[in-house]
């Protein structure tokens, strides 16, 4: 047995090193966001020193009539809304492509897959010109509508539907007189639940981190998501150094929703990845 223990410890050691590697920047951010007046070079970099996190937080929430909280709310609205609807659309589309045979199915699927290859950044400017034509630029919809689309989610949806929804079950539902739509919502959605969580998480992360689209679309600070808001502060740190502390503590606070989403959904996610890997 002793011979087997060594590799296990070695594996743990490697894991520990990597954990440390990934957590150190986060720890640094935590310490830095607590520094008084954003003096990151003052005192120790990785130990609480001049710690004034509470003060920084209240500065952050008060600055410019609490614009930061507004940005957080915007981010959550864009992200949760788009991820929820986008997941449903992608899941339905993937399901249809997996379970129904029709002409042009593969062509359609390949076109959608091609969409994965087009970087969202490249689409931002054309989208801006289109949204300007219909007078929707610089509105909530300018960011929300394009965020609904998720070709990678369609791909995942198809793989999971093929793997987790047996044709026999659908056949049985049909014989019992269930319509296709009803079969989807009562039967398939449950079987595909882990897949939906996976797609939701991927989509959530993608929309949360989408930066170029709001940068180009939005001119009104009150519509900004938190990423763009923090960025716009950060561009002014040179001439307005008082913003540095706000950028640091704001970056730290803006991590929270992402952490919550992952911690609460990771259980489903893991089983979803597992289900996809068997077939």
């Amino acid at each position: 047995m002793a011979a087997f223990k060594l590799p296990k410890y070695a594996a743990m050691l490697v894991m520990a090193v990597f954990t440390l590697y990934f957590l150190t920047p986060l720890w640094w951010l935590f310490i830095a966001s607590g520094k008084k007046d954003g003096q990151v070079t003052e005192g120790h970099a990785l130990l609480p020193d001049n710690f004034a996190l509470g003060e920084n937080l209240s500065d952050l929430f008060r600055y410019n009539d609490g614009i930061f909280l507004r940005w957080m709310a915007n981010s959550i609205a864009y992200t949760v809304g788009a991820a929820a609807i986008g997941t449903l659309l992608a899941g339905m589309c993937g399901y249809a492509l997996a379970k129904y045979v029709f002409r042009g199915r593969e062509l359609l699927f390949n076109i959608v897959l091609g969409g994965v290859l087009v970087p969202a950044t490249a689409l931002a400017l054309p989208l801006f010109l289109m949204f300007s034509k219909v007078s929707l630029a610089n509105t909530f919809w300018a960011v929300f509508l394009p965020s609904l689309v998720n070709p990678f989610g369609v791909y995942l949806g198809r793989i999971y539907a093929a793997a987790s929804v047996p044709d026999e079950l659908m056949e049985a539902a049909r014989i019992d007189g269930s319509s296709e739509v009803r079969t989807f919502f009562t039967l398939s959605v449950r079987l595909m639940a882990p897949a939906f969580v996976t797609i939701f998480l991927f989509h959530f992360v993608a929309v949360w981190n989408n930066f170029m689209l709001p940068l180009i679309m939005l001119g009104n600070e009150r519509l900004f998501p938190v990423t763009l808001g923090l960025y716009s502060w950060n561009t002014q740190v040179n001439q307005h150094p008082e913003l540095r502390a706000l950028v640091l503590v704001g970056a730290f606070v803006s991590l929270a929703p992402m952490v919550i989403a992952f911690l609460s959904l990771q259980r489903f996610w893991r089983s979803g990845l597992g289900a996809g890997s068997i077939k």
């Binding site: 990151v40 940068l215 180009i216 716009s232 040179n238 001439q239």
Partner: protein, 445 residues
């Protein structure tokens, strides 16, 4: 973070140049055509204007205007700074037809908007042409490009340069405060002997270097009414480049990347002793180097010839009216109030640390006070004088974002000894000419 901002700026600018190519065929404005300025008639009835800027807390200033002017309401929008995305957005919006009425544009970016014919010519507005004398001469030239009867923006703030220095360390080591660049080089040796660096040479603030060249009488760009000329290695520039090259070669200046915690630390830990910088730099030092409070002072910029009185400028911006605005008269009226009235200038200075571009602005009460961080010296008196000594004939090119990037790529090599500053500037000139040609902007070689 600077790198990220920069790569985004480049990305945005490259999408820009695509739109630029497609629209500049029939566009002779690139050459600054002379002709009658657009009419400037007041609109009838109440007007709502949109104004995009990145000045922090600008809402407080605009509120004052809105309360006093119910018929000209201004809606303000803020976002990232110009090169951080707002300029690219302006260009996109001009193309899509939904640009704001007014925009915040730095002096060095104004020509790129002029070349794209995005700016309303306010030369025909009486209220604008009558305000000429309110502004410091050189700031007025920055918004007219020297064209008689044409005005493409209202000067907002200025960045006259001076010498920030560690008074305590200079006194302790018996080093006289340099008044000429030759004395500055001598002082550099003494500072090195005392264990410090006289300053940090910035490898990426090309506009600071341009400020040095501006003071020395150099001209990087010119426009004869038809063609642009680029001369980033003229005699004055050569003199400045050789001077700093000498300091770099002798390792008398450090070359930490600017605006980083490491750079702040060099000042905070007293290893860098001076900084030749703009008026707004006063805040950068006081927030970056809090441990050195009370030990700094400000003196006029060192001169090339003893007894001369010349200063450079670094930064500064204007409030421009876009060509698509339906209310240029009202927009100009607001921009004039924002940038000349004592109440607005006082607020802008208080909320955003802007240094006014008007002659009277220099005597705002807040700019007459001693500043504790600088040993209670009334430092703004030095900058007020410097502002009057900035030469009026320095012109920016129409593709400064790209030019800055090219020059700074070369400067980065120069500070590590791979090439010289002069070579970097010559290369930047060549690639600037290429960029101008690729955008169909006429250029004479």
């Amino acid at each position: 973070m600077r790198f990220r901002a920069r790569s985004i700026a480049i990305l945005l600018m490259s999408t820009l140049s695509i739109t630029a190519c497609s629209s500049s065929n029939s566009d002779d404005s690139a050459t600054g055509t002379t002709g009658a300025a657009a009419s400037c008639a007041p609109s009838s009835g109440p007007v709502t204007l949109t104004y995009t800027t990145w000045i922090p807390n600008i809402e407080k200033v605009v509120d004052v205007w809105n309360k006093a002017n119910p018929d000209i309401q201004v809606k303000v929008q803020t976002g990232p700074n110009g090169n951080g995305g707002t300029y690219a957005n302006f260009f996109n919006q001009l193309k899509a037809g939904n640009a704001p009425d007014l925009g915040h544009i730095e002096y060095d970016a104004l020509p790129s908007f002029r070349v794209q014919d995005g700016l309303a010519d306010l030369g025909g507005c009486d209220i604008v042409s009558q305000s000429k004398d309110k502004f410091v001469d050189w700031t007025w030239n920055q918004v007219t490009f020297g064209e008689e009867g044409h005005v493409y923006g209202i000067p907002q703030d200025a960045g006259p340069m001076a010498l920030f220095y560690r008074k305590d360390l200079f006194e302790k080591n018996n080093i006289p405060v340099p008044t000429t660049w030759a004395e500055y080089a001598t002082a550099a040796e003494k500072v090195k002997a005392a264990g410090g660096y006289i300053t940090n040479f910035s490898q990426s603030d090309i506009n600071q270097f341009a400020g040095f060249v501006w003071q020395a009488g150099g001209h990087w760009f010119g426009n004869d009414g038809t063609n642009w000329t680029v001369s980033m290695a003229d005699d004055a520039t050569k003199k400045v480049a050789d001077y700093w090259q000498g300091l770099l070669d002798k390792k008398l200046v450090s070359s930490v990347p600017p605006w980083t915690p490491e750079w702040d630390n060099a000042y905070n830990s007293s290893s860098a002793w001076t900084w030749v910088s703009a008026v707004w730099g006063a805040n950068s030092i006081s927030s970056g180097a809090p441990k050195t409070s009370g030990k700094w002072a400000v003196a006029p910029m060192p001169q090339w010839t003893a007894g001369d009185k010349a200063a450079g400028n670094w930064g500064g911006s204007s409030t421009a009216v876009f060509k698509s605005s339906k209310h240029p008269y009202e927009a100009a009226k607001f921009a004039l109030w924002l940038n000349t009235s004592t109440e607005a200038l006082t607020l802008l200075n208080k909320e955003a640390n802007l240094y006014p571009a008007t002659k009277e602005g220099a005597s705002l009460p807040a700019l007459k006070e001693g500043v504790a961080f600088y040993g209670n010296q009334p430092i703004y008196d030095v900058f007020a004088e410097a502002s009057t000594q900035v030469k009026a004939d320095f012109t920016w090119g129409p593709t400064m974002t790209k030019t800055y990037t090219d020059a700074s790529d070369g400067f980065k090599k120069a500070v590590t000894g791979q090439e010289t500053l002069l070579k970097a500037l010559q290369d930047a000139q060549a690639s600037t000419i290429t960029t101008l040609k690729s955008q169909s902007i006429p250029v004479k070689e």
